[in-house]
Amino acid sequence: MGSVTFDVLTTAAILFVVSTGLMVILGVMKLLNFAHGAFLTTGGYVAYMAGLAGVSPWLSIPLASILGFLFGLVVERIVIRPLYQRPLDAILATWGLGIVISQVFALTFGRGVQFAPSPLSGTVDFLGVEYSAYRLAIAAIAILLAFALIGLLSLTRFGLNARAVIVNEDLARGLGIDSTKVRSLTFGLGAGLACAAGALITPLLSVDPNMGLPWLVNSFMLVLVSGVSFPSLLFASLVLGGTQVLVSTYVSPILGGMTIVVLAALILRLNPKGFSRA
């Protein structure tokens, strides 16, 4: 097992972590959240600020998720909820919101890149390969996150209500489920996941006002291919992310950068349902 194999696995893990927030919101609210990239950026700046304040880099991740959740609740109440009956306007509103958030960060921190401290540095010997300790940690976190989200949807009352709203919102309302509350919590959860993902990946990269943009594009492609299913999203992240790593490593990094988009378009052309069984 060489380092390329670990690159494939950890890249898939990063893509999964980055995409979950988008998928949660799309699945329950039928809303394409164009502000997802800006939420990732927000998480990146939380990690940067936490580093400046001397907070442990590990704590910056839950801190970003909590702040993102609260921010998401506010955004849903003020921006999204008045547009429930106008879904296209709601999508445009998230697009505008993303631009506003980016500009606020540009005004506050400037357009230059900033760096957040890494919770883990250096490499470890894992299965005979010297590999980045932090990337391996992200892979472990992705697995835990997948189990946690599947558990949330499968084992909790909130998950049951959310699944009911996904399938048939009117029927769910007729059974006493406050779908407005479910939507609000879902948007908060999606924003919280995106912010946590931003804080998680920032130590690998850097943060700037447009940091989330390329991740937004890849996330969209993965969610389109996987449908509303966490196992399917994991599989899509592995296939598309893995191909991206292989193309970048053995062909060209430039071609690698467009692999996910091209491959997703091809998959959807051949099978409009993508990897989803629905």
């Binding site: 009352r157 009911a164 399938v167 007729g174 006493g176």
Partner: protein
């Protein structure tokens, strides 16, 4: 103040500018089954959807236990003790039978307390708790639908054409369950039906809806003429 659990007065409702219901007034008492009879397109389902809050009325008043619930949000109507079993898209087919039943109550603790009630009424449903609801037969799906309503232990049920597509034996079973729900649990029922024999076998009173208006009503007793009423249901 009256002894009606549900009172509707001068209700006018419809979709957009299209008027469907005109000057609807009715009362349902505790432990009473009132059936609304009428052909397709007469406004029966619109009436239930308006009472549940899915459709906003143009005018009129709906009172539940003397509390104004006109144009209430559907989830609040459900939490006020009203169970709605619609005619179409009634179950979550990809969820298990158990999950469909759990959705009938507001908490899992209540579900555990009340599941035994269903065991005595529809034991076949309890045997299939882990099965996906979409894989049940048509009759079993109707049993699940009724079970989900009953597990809520409502004071009032809105039931929309539950007998449709059922074999005669299953229709008889549904009638037994409704009578038991009324007599033993004290549940009031607003039953929308086209199956005249089924409706008259369970109902205390009937009202006939034609083109959005009640044109006839009465008590169901030995003198109720099924032949006369069936004329209103003929195509």
């Amino acid at each position: 103040m009256n002894d009606a659990i549900l009172s509707v007065r001068d209700l006018n409702s419809g979709y957009g500018s299209a008027s469907v219901l005109r000057n609807i007034s009715l009362d349902i008492k505790k432990g009473e089954i009132l059936t609304i009879l009428g052909k397709n397109g007469m406004g029966k389902s619109t009436l239930l959807n308006t009472l549940m809050g899915f459709v906003s009325p143009f005018s009129g008043k709906v009172m539940l236990n003397d509390k104004d619930v006109t144009d209430i949000k559907p989830h609040l109507m459900a939490r006020s003790g009203v169970a709605h079993t619609p005619q179409e898209n009634t179950l979550f087919p990809d969820l298990t039978v158990e999950d469909n039943l759990r959705l009938g109550v507001t908490s899992d603790r209540l579900f555990q307390q009340r599941i035994s009630t269903i065991e005595t009424i529809f034991p076949r449903i309890i045997e299939r708790l882990k099965q996906r609801a979409g894989t049940l037969s048509g009759g079993e799906q109707k049993m699940l639908l009724m079970s989900r309503g009953l597990v809520a232990q409502p004071q009032l049920m809105f039931i929309d054409e539950v007998s449709e597509g059922l074999q005669p034996a299953m229709v008889d079973r549904m009638a037994e369950v409704l009578i038991r729900a009324r007599d033993e649990l004290g549940i009031s029922v607003l039953l929308v039906e086209q199956n005249l024999d089924f409706a008259l076998s369970v109902a205390n009173r009937f009202m006939i809806l034609k083109l959005g208006e009640f044109i006839e009503q009465g008590v169901v007793d030995d003198r109720t003429s099924a032949e006369h009423l069936s004329a209103h249901l003929a195509i």
